[in-house]
């Protein structure tokens, strides 16, 4: 019987200095924040992070974990500029900036074991000046010069899902699956945190088939982490916590403010974290964000 259950800390033990890590979700939605906090308090260093970035990137940057960032944006949506990311970037954080769709394309190339996928995206912009990028001329009669978006192959993808069974059949119940599936397909190994680990028959399949993210052989390990996306959303289970995101953002104001945030929200176990952010009922009662 397959049993891929493990703890959040056991997942972090599977990571190593210098790894390339893809982080699922999008900005303030369904980020594996329990894992991010565990990485932030670990001794890991020199990570290359691939992300549709939100507080995952900001927190890891503020914790000195990122050697290089592969990204198209980092934002807290309602707080457009992520202040921890901003500080790190202005201090010269090495990065490879690209278009949102190029990131998609690089992951897709890796998922298909292709060296690259051709695209027009990036043409005509500073994005195509990146030393990582080369062009290719169409071998057909059109002869168009295209960018050859190279495969992005992370060592590990870290995702947060709503439900999993112990075999790694995972469901993301939110209305947008983002690019988590591609991250899992593109990466050597994928670890997920789940709001709840349930029996396979309780996944609600086949009714929930459209929420089934990816085939289970792609999932190496699964840790139960209730509210593991907080302060980002894991709708419909809970919404993003804008008040907490504001407090997190304000922690970029000074070294003292960040130390205090670290002490109360990162260097703590999950129960203490949950208490510090108001408890389970308060998170379940968060209002739907207005866009």
């Amino acid at each position: 019987m397959l049993d891929k259950r493990m703890s959040v800390d056991a997942i972090v033990d599977q990571l190593a200095d210098g790894m390339t890590i893809a982080i699922g979700g999008w900005a303030t939605r369904r980020k594996p924040m329990a894992l991010i906090r565990a990485i932030a308090r670990s001794s890991l260093k020199d990570l290359t992070i691939v992300s549709y970035g939100g507080p995952d990137v900001g927190m890891l940057a503020a914790s000195g974990k990122i050697a290089r960032l592969i990204f198209a944006f980092v934002s807290l949506d309602h707080i457009p500029i992520e202040p921890h990311f901003k500080a790190a970037r202005q201090a010269g954080l090495p990065m490879w900036e690209m278009d949102e769709g190029m990131l998609h394309w690089g992951l897709r190339a890796s998922a298909m074991h292709l060296p690259f996928l051709p695209t027009r995206i990036g043409g005509g912009t500073s994005i195509s000046d990146a030393p990582e990028l080369r062009t290719i001329v169409s071998p057909y009669d059109d002869g168009e010069t295209l960018l050859a978006m190279p495969a992005i192959r992370p060592d590990v993808a870290l995702l947060h899902v709503h439900r999993s069974d112990e075999k790694g059949n995972v469901l993301t119940l939110s209305s947008d699956p983002f690019f988590d599936e591609l991250m899992a397909r593109a990466s050597e190994r994928t670890f997920v945190t789940a709001e709840r680990i349930v029996a396979t028959e309780d996944l609600g399949l086949p009714g929930n088939a459209r929420y089934h993210l990816v085939e289970r052989p792609l999932i190496t390990g699964v840790a139960e982490a209730p509210f593991g996306a907080h302060p980002t959303s894991a709708a419909p289970d809970y919404q993003l916590d804008l008040r907490h995101l504001r407090a997190y953002a304000a922690a970029a104001d000074s070294a003292d403010a960040w130390d205090a945030y670290r002490r109360t929200h990162i260097e703590v176990d999950p129960d203490a974290y949950l208490a510090a952010v108001g408890g389970a009922d308060a998170i379940r009662a968060l209002p739907v964000a207005v866009y």
């Binding site: 990204f71 934002s75 457009p80 500029i81 901003k86 769709g101 998609h104 995206i121 043409g123 062009t135």
Partner: protein
Amino acid sequence: MDFTLAELLVTACAEVWRGDPEWLATGITPIPRLGASLAKRSFNPGLMITDAENMFLEEPAPLGPREGSPTVEGWAPYARTFDNLWGGRRHALVAPVQIDRFGQTNISAIGDHAHPKASLLGARGFPGNSVHHPNSYFIAGHNRRALVEGEVDFVCSAGYNPARWLGGKQPARLELRRIVTNLCVMDFGGPGHAVRLVSLHPGVPIEEVRDNTGFDVLLPEGAIPSTPAPSAEALDIIRRLDPHDIRATILKGDPPGVRAH
């Protein structure tokens, strides 16, 4: 009828979608979003519009806190949004921090890209948008820091700059439509897609546009038109789409639509 400059700009933004086919209208930041909503509610009901998250709405949602939501008519997760925009069926009106004479824009960083003076968002979807479907741009503060001399600090969206085109060929679907600012409306109708004035907002002298633009703006032939005032019907729609008057917070001092002399 009295109207504010913000309401005039919403009306001018809506005009970018006049005559567009049945496709996605994306307006980012409140005034462009209200413009898209106004276009759909008045003269182009076939436009598709989202809830700014991942659903298509039958009718545009008002800005800010609201009771309920318009009827959802379709699904727009990011993967599908990319597929749709790569297919070219969209016209976006977005708000860059810098724009140059080529129509190239920047939302990534100000200053040297490796050590920026000010880190902004990142290029987001601008590169892909610019080479796949028509784009227009909104600048709330028309000045030389926004409409820059030379090139923008980091080119996030492609423009009419042959030096940057892959293989020296214009991207096949590059199409820049309009620039709407707090002073005027411009397009790319000059020779070689040079920036050209379309209309001045009521009471704005051409010198003010020249003094606050880092590049040459060509003039239209004949008299310079005045940007049309919103109709009573348009104002009514705008006020219903923005019940909390968020539009009043976008421009400093919420000035009137017709400048006093």
